[in-house]
Symmetry: C2
């Protein structure tokens, strides 16, 4: 089935893509179908807003990224920003730019991913903008969430003695990308190429279908731990540590042997002859939570499932460093985008 | 001065573009520089959210659109959506995709326009996402606003006897686009071409520097008039009328001789041998407010400056029609985008 978008027109397309959207939050008063969505939070709630843009050829390659996964990821990376503020994502608006090579069915696949992510995380898709593009697929998602008044956790609250914690493991999404790129290169010119992901399924999943760590926010709340600062790991641990330190006016020491790395990530790094620690520190797209807690929370945080203490903050003048296995100090470097 | 973006890096660029942003709203608690912006509205306020995407080659042509104007317009078209809900825009987040041909100075120009629009309309620029693009310039803006709880004006509240009103005049932005395109074509291959806009300045201004009708929202409030339905005219009067009618389950009758058209628009239509009414009905990008009021508000609304009654709603089964100067009925057609 291939339905040309022009056969539906803009408004027909929007009607089809947004048909029968569920309403998961009481705060969603008016969803798709007006000039703006209307949201009504309970009193004593702060509103959180974050936005992310994904561009074809920069953030994703449709050769190996299924559209449904892409939709899922576009939503989840936004939700992750709200969790990183200690909040709950509630509403999502999505801007789409689509070129003529996309059919209605393609966009339905993309929306299936957006809808699934919204269902899984309890978020309402409340609006958007769909437009033509001369430049491949453009996805811009903005998430709105809430948090108890004054309870947002910022990047700036860490003290020089705080412990640094990270959830899950790092570097796997980056290794997944290397693997997908390798298989893409291997497939060039071959008709019935079957990519080989055996034993590396976790890496592919981390790249194609990341999850936001809602569970960690719940664990922290259940344990009565409020992080002093928090950020999600999108650009790589190294960058994010430097963001926390800059905002909190601290330095930091993280220990190489404490960085959580999955077995598959290590195997892949060896296969590709890449430095494993570099991949874990700078790979990015992990969407894990990096946060700090007071020293007094050491025991409590040590008991959390899927959280590891990887180091500690330090006075600002000591700078930011990774301590190697032999005690050597390596200054951290921020990455950010390298496309420009 | 031409500074390559790569010389600053992502974080340096963001720091430079967002330096010294003013805080114009008490509701802005935490602006740029965290995973999400934090907003705290007074109690008994509803939150409004709207998003718009502008893509190079589709929505704008940098041959004749200055970047500062583009930034201004990207913000204002979003503000317009909030006014169209009877609300007040308060915060803006902006996603930017930029290709390597843009310099830091280019982006500063764009931001100067965004900042100016925010200053003029009292909105805080609280966040964004800046990324590389392979596809020219991509601007995605999402605005957050507020309105007294339950006082948002939707598209759906019109009754079959309501009067239809529109602010300002229509078709000028579309004619401005035709003029700019004509001068662009005329300039092809010429070195020192000077475009001729004399006597048509209003058309160029309507296209390049539209304004949102905050003044009309204030006038309505001051006069104690609450529209029963409202929408802003972005895709053309015809489309917007059909949106109101569809959402309100009504038909409508608008009168050709009541459509407000500026003298320059009429002159330009004649020069180009285009149908003036078609331009006014379908041109789009007017960013005027189209709204309905009860019949009982006829006198009050007639006294508003810059507002004209152009027709009335009707029972749904009568459909949507334009009544020509000789009394003939022309069914309305929705436009929407025609790029796909």
């Amino acid at each position: 089935m291939e339905t040309e978008i022009s056969s539906l027109g803009e408004f027909g397309l929007i009607d089809r893509l947004t048909a029968e959207l569920p309403k998961l939050n009481d705060s969603t008063i008016k969803s798709v179908g007006d000039d703006a969505a209307v949201i009504r939070y309970e009193s004593k709630r702060d509103v959180l807003v974050s936005t992310d843009m994904l561009l074809e050829g920069i953030h994703f390659d449709l050769t190996y990224v299924p559209l449904k996964h892409l939709g899922y990821k576009a939503a989840v990376v936004n939700f992750s920003d709200i969790y990183a503020m200690n909040g709950t994502p509630r509403q999502l608006v999505v801007g789409l730019g689509v070129s003529t090579r996309f059919t209605v069915e393609h966009l339905e696949e993309l929306y299936a991913g957006l809808r699934l992510a919204c269902e899984v995380y309890g978020v309402d898709l409340v609006g958007g903008d769909t437009t033509a593009s001369r430049a491949g697929l453009v996805i811009s998602a903005t998430v709105i969430g809430d948090v108890e008044e004054g309870k947002a956790v910022h990047r700036s609250g860490a003290k020089p003695t705080d412990l640094i914690c990270v959830s899950g493991d790092l570097g796997a999404a980056y290794m997944g990308l290397q693997l997908l790129e390798r298989e893409k290169a291997a497939s060039a010119g071959q008709k019935d190429f079957v990519p080989d992901f055996s034993g590396k399924e976790y890496l592919v999943e981390r790249q194609l279908k990341p999850e936001a760590r809602r569970d960690i926010i719940k664990e922290l709340a259940d344990a009565g731990i409020t992080p002093t600062s928090m950020i999600d790991v999108s650009d790589g641990l190294s960058s994010e540590l430097m963001h926390l330190c800059k905002a909190s006016k601290t330095g930091c020491r993280v220990y190489e042997d404490r960085i959580p790395i999955d077995y598959q990530t290590a195997v892949m790094a060896e296969e590709l002859n890449m430095n494993l620690v570099t991949a874990a520190m700078n790979g990015g797209e992990d969407y894990e939570l990096l946060f700090t807690v007071p020293l007094t929370a050491h025991e409590a945080v040590s008991q959390l499932k899927g959280v590891r203490v990887i180091g500690h903050m330090s006075p600002e003048d000591q700078g930011c460093a990774l301590i190697g296995r032999n005690g050597e100090e390596l200054p951290l470097k921020a990455q950010g985008f390298t496309h420009l």
